[in-house]
Symmetry: C2
Subunit: 198 residues, 2 copies
């Protein structure tokens, strides 16, 4: 067997990417070396730059290049509203609705006892300090509607209400464009329970 | 919108990986920054090292750190046999059979007219020079059994036979462990046509 150390090391290093197993890593390495040498160089530089430049915004906890990210520093945003999301990807989705102009707090996870993630690991005290700044009036819980996301929302709701804050949860119901015939009974049930007057 | 240049650039750079779209790239970037900072650093270094160190072996055309790879330089290999494969991944699969002890030539692709890849792009003349070194006696065509792989095998077969070389093709048939009931008719048909005396 040939001992191609650089190649073996590249294949091994690619496996740190989520969802990339040995076969994919091999395919990626060959693809980069054969067809994407410029892309590979760019990726190497981007990784180094991102590791150097990015940290967590001290206000919203999402990734930022400065101590306070541009979103948190924006004067036009409504500082009375704080939306709690699990991940930066969720934050992006909220922004894409173009219906929210408040601020955010990104948990960078969810309470997941089976994975050893509790309130301490999530640094929930940082969220409580942020929400208790005297400006925030309503906290909107936008964690996922998974078991873990629901448990996290429930837990945070208790703590935040105890501090005199108004707490809300984004609505459950049928997706836009959905037909009842093809929706699951659980979702229809929730849409029924949470029906709104017209 | 916040202008997170390092993050945006990392997400864009990750898209050079095969099969990685905007959503996956975003997920990968967040994962690396949050959970795999060591892995990201290692990947950055591995990419740079691989780009610097790896080139094509002048004999087999697969990736190598020297002018002639260790496999081609190994004295124990049977230099009378030359197996032609499409990619280094295919070469690895052939090696894993542990049933082949000859040498290889890696096309780094296949004849694919619709993608603009013809004999010239594949540098078929390099293979012909390699196979015509006076030592190689049999060329085993192990391109894939796709339309493009078959066409490539057919084309190479003509050229190599015209040079007085013995040319063979790896066998088609039912996979090991296969049951006829669940195999496709095309494969069963081929297995019937290419039946061997027992």
């Amino acid at each position: 067997m040939a001992a191609l150390t650089s190649l073996d090391e590249l294949i091994a290093a690619l496996r740190c990417l989520p969802g990339v197993g040995p076969k994919s890593a091999q395919r990626m390495a060959y693809h980069l070396l054969q067809h994407e040498r410029d892309g590979a160089e760019r990726l190497s530089r981007a990784l180094t730059a991102a590791l150097q430049n990015l940290r967590h915004c001290t206000r919203c906890n999402a990734f930022a290049e400065r101590e306070i990210c541009e979103r948190c520093a924006a004067p036009r945003r409504d500082a009375n509203l704080l939306c709690v999301v699990e991940t930066p990807a969720d934050l992006n989705m909220m922004e894409q609705t173009q219906l929210y102009n408040g601020l955010y707090y990104c948990l960078m996870g969810r309470i997941e006892p089976l994975a050893g993630v509790g309130p301490r690991e999530l640094q929930i005290d940082r969220l409580l300090a942020r929400a208790g700044d005297g400006v925030v009036q309503e906290v909107i819980l936008a964690t996922n509607f998974t078991n873990e996301g629901e448990a996290t929302a429930h837990y945070l709701g208790e703590l935040l209400r105890a501090r005199g804050l108004k707490v809300s949860r984004i609505a459950r119901g049928l997706p836009v464009g959905a037909e009842l015939e093809y929706a699951d009974a659980g979702t229809i049930g929730q849409a029924l329970v949470e029906r709104r007057p017209l």
